[in-house]
Amino acid sequence: MNLFQIALALVFMAGIPIFLVLYLLVAEKLAAGRAKKRKRKSLLPWLWLAPAFVLILVFLIYPLINTTVLSFMNKDSTRFVGLENYRFVFTNDSMLTALRNNLLWVVFFTLVTATVGLVLAVLMDRVRYESVAKAIIFLPACISFVAAGVIWRFMYTYQPKGAAQIGTVNAILTAIFPNFQPQAWLFNPIFNNWALIVVGIWIWTGFALVIFSASLKGIPPELLEAARIDGAGEIKIFFKIILPLMSQTIIVVVTYFIINVLKIFDIIYVMTNGNLGTEVIANRMYKEMFTFTNFGHAGAIAIFLLLAVIPVMVMNVKRFRRERSG
């Protein structure tokens, strides 16, 4: 039976491209036979796009509509409950914590990651071992979030004072400051959210660095040189020349971070599972959906998340259009 499944998979892998090519051939033949030349010209792009539209319809539009419908239904989607699930999103204790934490993530994660990435990019631009340094900072970006979560759980490990500190963070701190009281980083509500955000920053800073660095290389050196000859200091050059020229890139990176961080899930799921006030929206959605099988709640959270992302996307598209026209 496994052979059969493998064969089936192969047929599909080969079959889909073949089918698409055939589709285009047939479509063009038919279009050529039927319509006049001008009409054909306007028809053809639609024919070409149709397969993509079908996929979007099946995998994006249909689930979207379905989720919207579910978000107005009860737990097992048998009864219409109106806005009940949305009331849950904005009044439930865990949801309120999640909303607050996502805000925390959006603001601090984005701010710190983008700033640190930018500063590092500018600084590293001036050293000889730039590529090595960049590679080191970029490395965490190659690790999956889940693996990073596991690694950091080890790093944050708590052992009582006096016992061997096997968690990196407590080990370093107790080595430097002998009087340091080891901390349960993930279990103290005062700083556990920050401990989690640090993990996110650790992963993503390299990504920001690489993008910013590439953009920095695109600034003509003559421009900087001219500024220097005119007597501008390095800090002035950074704020008056480099920053404005990189603003487009920065906006793209920030948008990307905001969208990603609204959906942040893996780190929290692996490290705390939302305990002790670290819940985030996506983790709550996962719980509602798969642990509690509450399709109504999960649907409402999903729709809320979608609505939260839309303004960011709209801004991005608008800016993109302006850039193209201008």
């Binding site: 039976m1 059969f4 047929v11 079959g15 055939l22 051939l25 490990t157 705390t272 939302g274």
Partner: protein
């Protein structure tokens, strides 16, 4: 043009091939479960024995995230034939959605009752219908200790809760740490604490109240529930009572929780855990001699009129009623099949599994507890609706972090109770 027609016909043949390609028919049962590692090895032996006997193939699919997989496969209309569920709440959910087969139509009930006591059948029933066949179980509420250490320090095994607490306070007064507790367990963090509270609850108020509690008929804000939490808190939230203090309890994984008890010199004296912990301790400390250096006692009674043994375990549920499913379930219920797991230290519900199948003395004692128990209750949190269970877990985490929040936490659980049982 002829080239074009050729292409079209090739495509047509390919597509027809996909949809009509017939799968070779064979007798087969698909099983979904959470087992991996040594448990899976044992289950594979059972599967092999079954295949040799009947010629029916069993395909086992393992997932760590059975809730997720179950939900998506049910949604897709593609459930496995049999699922091995680690939580009864999932069984109850699916039974209520009418996704499960009534096992009394699949199994010969007269035969089954010869080897399964009625309490197992009752535990696996939802609204009077028998949906879950208990398979592999673990006894909860056992206290592991090192008898040599106890002897050396002149400590005796407590017979009542008061004696237990007196022992604990005595150790604290001597500057020692009586308990080792670890409740960290990934996305299920908190369950060892809920086990504690459940074991205390059933010893305080008996099986009937216990049932009211998990069935949602007892308020979380009631004095009964609060009292059980507080007795647990006397131990777990007292920095002097537990190794590593409250932070240690929160951040120690349940697998490693017993290490301070059996390290030398001991850093703690007692660990409350389920019967499967014996195997983990033996893995961590291979030189420990069972019974003389590693032994256990049952968490002592609080109110002497209530004695009950709490268990947790895996339960089998069937989604299809094919002859192959019937045959495999019948085999799994048999003493033959269950003897395989008995060898690994699991306590099996079939009372005809011979004592000789249990290899070590400790395992034999576990089995005896189960067969001689008057009342068996199942892990209450695993019987609650999954959102209540999940919140119960995480409330214990918050409670240990900040014991002054108890009323607030119970209030939240009570709010959830009002909506979750429907």
């Amino acid at each position: 043009m002829s080239k074009f027609l050729l292409l079209v016909s090739i495509a047509a043949v390919l597509i027809l091939g996909i949809f009509t390609g017939c799968q070779p028919e064979q007798q087969k049962v698909t099983v979904l479960g959470v087992w991996g590692g040594s448990e899976l090895d044992v289950f594979n032996k059972i599967i092999k024995a079954f295949q040799d006997k009947t010629g029916i193939t069993v395909e086992f699919e393992s997932t760590r995230d059975i809730n997720t997989v179950m939900v998506s496969r049910l949604q897709a209309g593609n459930p496995p034939d049999i699922a091995i569920l680690p939580q009864l709440s999932l069984l109850v959910d699916m039974a209520k959605q009418k996704k499960l087969q009534d096992l009394s139509t699949l199994l010969d009930m007269n035969e089954l009752k010869k080897s399964y006591s009625q309490s197992w059948i009752d535990l696996g029933s939802v609204n009077g219908k028998f949906y879950g066949l208990f398979f592999k179980t673990a006894i909860k509420g056992l206290v592991y200790y090192d008898p040599e250490v106890f002897k050396k320090e002149g400590l005796s095994v407590p017979k009542t809760w008061d004696e237990l607490m007196a022992l604990s306070h005595k150790l604290v007064a001597e500057g020692k740490t009586p308990w080792a507790i670890g409740i960290e367990s990934g996305s299920a963090t908190g369950w060892p604490a809920t086990d504690w509270i459940e074991n205390i609850f059933v010893r305080l108020y008996g099986a009937q109240k216990y049932r009211d509690w998990y069935e949602g008929k007892l308020a979380w804000t009631s004095d009964e529930v609060k009292k059980a939490w507080q007795l647990f808190g006397d131990i777990a939230t007292n920095n002097k009572m537990v190794y590593g203090g409250r932070n240690g309890v929160l951040s120690t994984s349940f697998q490693n929780a017993g290490d301070p008890v059996f390290s030398s010199p001991p850093k703690a004296y007692m660990l409350q855990q389920a019967s499967f912990m014996a195997g983990m301790l033996k893995d961590h400390f291979p030189d420990l001699k069972p019974i003389t250096q590693l032994n256990f006692f049952i968490l002592p009674p609080i109110n002497p009129q209530y004695s009950a043994v709490e268990i947790g375990g895996d339960v089998l549920a069937a989604f299809k009623s094919t002859p192959e499913v019937k045959s495999f379930l019948t085999y799994l219920a048999s003493a033959d099949a269950q003897a395989y797991f008995a060898k690994t230290g699991a306590t099996m519900p079939n009372k005809n599994v011979p004592q000789s199948a249990y290899e070590t003395e400790i395992d034999k004692r576990f089995a005896k507890i189960l067969t001689s128990a008057n009342t068996i209750v199942f892990d209450a949190s695993d019987m609650m609706p999954s959102e209540v269970n999940s919140q119960f877990w995480s409330a214990t985490v918050s409670y240990i972090q900040d014991p002054t929040k108890l009323d607030e936490l119970l209030g939240k659980l009570e709010n959830l109770r009002k909506t979750a049982y429907k």
